[in-house]
């Protein structure tokens, strides 16, 4: 029952080797005949239309943005949750204030239509 992160390190190394070994095996076994046609980018078999770059809607960024800020919120939420039953009412009120402020953020995003996928 100790925080032996060492296992995590070892385990992640092993986990990293699994796909590598897999690919090596596949690399050995599979036929290897690259051809110009084969290597064109796949677009349902059609010729590629337009260059491969395109302009994305800013919507994606807004989702990521809100996700980041709420993610940080949870970072603060966890210590409180874990220490909840060891802290008094005061901590509860403080956390409610914290959540209220961020709820305002969510409401603003919602109201301003930042959450719409469109």
């Amino acid at each position: 029952m100790s925080d032996n992160w060492g296992f995590i390190a070892l385990f992640s190394l092993i986990a990293l080797t699994v796909p590598i070994i897999g690919l090596l095996a596949a690399w050995l076994l599979r036929p290897h005949r690259p051809g110009p046609i084969k290597q064109t980018t796949y677009e349902c078999g059609l010729e590629t239309v337009g260059d491969t770059w395109l302009q994305f809607k800013v919507q994606y960024y807004l989702y990521a943005l809100i996700f980041v800020l709420f993610d940080v919120e949870t970072v603060f939420l966890y210590p409180w949750a874990v220490a909840y039953n060891k802290l008094g009412i005061l901590a509860l009120v403080e956390m409610f204030i914290f959540l209220a402020i961020l709820a305002v953020g969510l409401a603003y995003a919602w109201r301003k239509g930042a959450l719409e996928w469109v």
Binding site: Y61, D71, V72, V75, F76, A83, Y84, E94
Partner: protein
């Protein structure tokens, strides 16, 4: 192979990971690739946190930096990537080198020579270890423990200190996050 050496090796590996990640950010040709190197550096730093027995922080580092901020950066790159690849350094890069290297030298000298009043803090005992009454008082004054005193986990202590000593900062961060949210939305929304 003593545990000490193992730790040092582990440190070397993690340091190498983070520094090479940072180096990758500079050398990478495409902005996307430099972002990936950045992520690698973040993971390296998380590892270093683990070496410093700041487990919660390591996980937070991974969760926030790797899971959120790098996603944000990647999104931003995708949104603004106008030319794929090729990113040679800015025009005055030699001048920058002239400034950064001595800067590094000086900071390193300072780090090396400064008297940091090192304390003899030992490895933090695992959570749940039984502690004497007065220690409990010292460490977890606010936490009631009916059946004997157990050393609360680092996260619990962190929660307690966040809620008591650093309460103001805690609430202010909430406001900062709100402001950032609203601000970013206003700016980004076309």
């Amino acid at each position: 192979m003593s545990p000490l050496l193992l730790q040092q090796i582990a440190f070397m590996v993690l340091a190498a990971i983070s520094l090479s990640g940072a180096w990758g950010v500079i050398r990478a040709h495409s902005v996307f690739v430099s972002a990936l190197w950045l992520i690698l550096s973040f993971v390296g730093v998380a590892g270093l946190y683990v070496m410093l027995e700041a487990g919660f922080l390591a996980v937070i580092q991974v969760l926030v930096y790797v899971g959120a901020i790098s996603v944000l950066i990647l999104f931003a790159i995708m949104l603004t990537e106008d030319v794929m690849g090729q990113a040679e350094p800015a025009s005055q890069w030699p001048l920058a080198v002239l400034i950064v290297l001595p800067f590094f030298g000086m900071l390193a000298k300072a780090a090396f020579t400064a008297d940091w009043q090192l304390s003899a803090g030992s490895v933090a005992p695992p959570e749940g270890a039984s502690i004497s009454a007065e220690t409990a008082k010292l460490v977890t004054t606010a936490i009631p423990a009916e059946q004997g005193f157990r050393l609360p986990g680092q996260v619990v202590m962190l929660g307690r200190s966040l809620m008591t000593e650093h309460l103001l900062a805690f609430e202010v961060v909430a406001v900062v996050l709100l402001v950032a949210l609203v601000g970013a939305i206003v700016i980004a929304r076309d």
